[in-house]
Assembly symmetry: C2
Homo-oligomer: 161 residues x 2
């Protein structure tokens, strides 16, 4: 990993972390985007005018896509596999001023899980065509959910609802 | 795990999954909510009128909270530790009609990561007081991010922006 984002900048603070072992993830597919390097990635995706990207779901998980087609917006969770995980304070501008990692949407975080709200253009078998991604080509996929705001709860109401 | 959500309902379909091993997570804290069992959890959190809940961050990660105070809304990621992970098709109403897991916001999914947009009431040291959670008391915390819509990118613009 040679991206400049991996080197510490003035004022940045790291944690000494043990190897993570509290829970483990399945990669369930890959995101195909036009962004080959981290420098190519836009800061934030644009669900209206961003480039068309593909969400390719591994064969074992394709049955879980059933019923996704009518949703206009979906939430994607993915693994920012190039990100260092030990930064507690970061200097986004590299100017010595720092802020805590949890007050930034930087990909560098203890659990580098990216979330995006994207526009679903269409489904084509194991593939979803979407707009609004800002991550690297080849990023591992973790989850697909209907967007919160478009979603009507499917299960019967509970006393607390 | 004896919750009825763990048993299969008519028509539900599972995957035969290997043990997950593609990436590993740190639990960085815990969520304290009034919901002691899954039956007590509301279907969706209410950031306006939901009960006050606490996000307690482990000591090692407290420096990463710096700068969070001004955000009105934050995104929380957490680990739905009681959820089975092998369901491809689910029957939310238990009536034999099923839908793919990725077209539902059910907690039962291959990577049971919950996401919530919550209202930040205030920070008190290692603790954030928030409204809008719908998860079990004691749920492990994975990440805290400023809400997308309230967030101004901090780093300098890139050519793709």
């Amino acid at each position: 990993m040679t991206h400049p984002g991996d080197s510490l900048r003035p004022g940045e603070e790291t944690a000494r972390l043990d190897a993570p072992r509290d829970a483990a993830l399945h990669f369930i597919g890959r995101l195909r985007t036009p962004f080959a390097t981290r420098a190519d990635c836009p800061r934030q995706g644009d669900p209206e005018n961003g480039p068309e990207c593909r969400v390719i779901v591994d064969a074992a998980f394709v049955p879980a896509l059933d019923g996704i087609e009518p949703f206009e917006r979906i939430e994607l969770l993915y693994w920012l596999h190039e990100a260092r995980r030990d930064l507690l304070r970061q200097s986004p501008k590299g100017d010595g001023r720092t802020r805590g990692t949890f007050s930034l949407r930087s990909p560098l975080r203890p659990n580098p899980i990216g979330t995006s709200l994207v526009r679903l253009i269409r489904r084509d078998g194991d593939t979803l065509l979407v707009r609004g991604l800002d991550c690297l080509d080849g990023t591992p996929l973790l989850d697909i959910k209907p967007a919160r705001c478009d979603y009507a709860v499917q299960a019967p109401p509970k006393p607390g609802d």
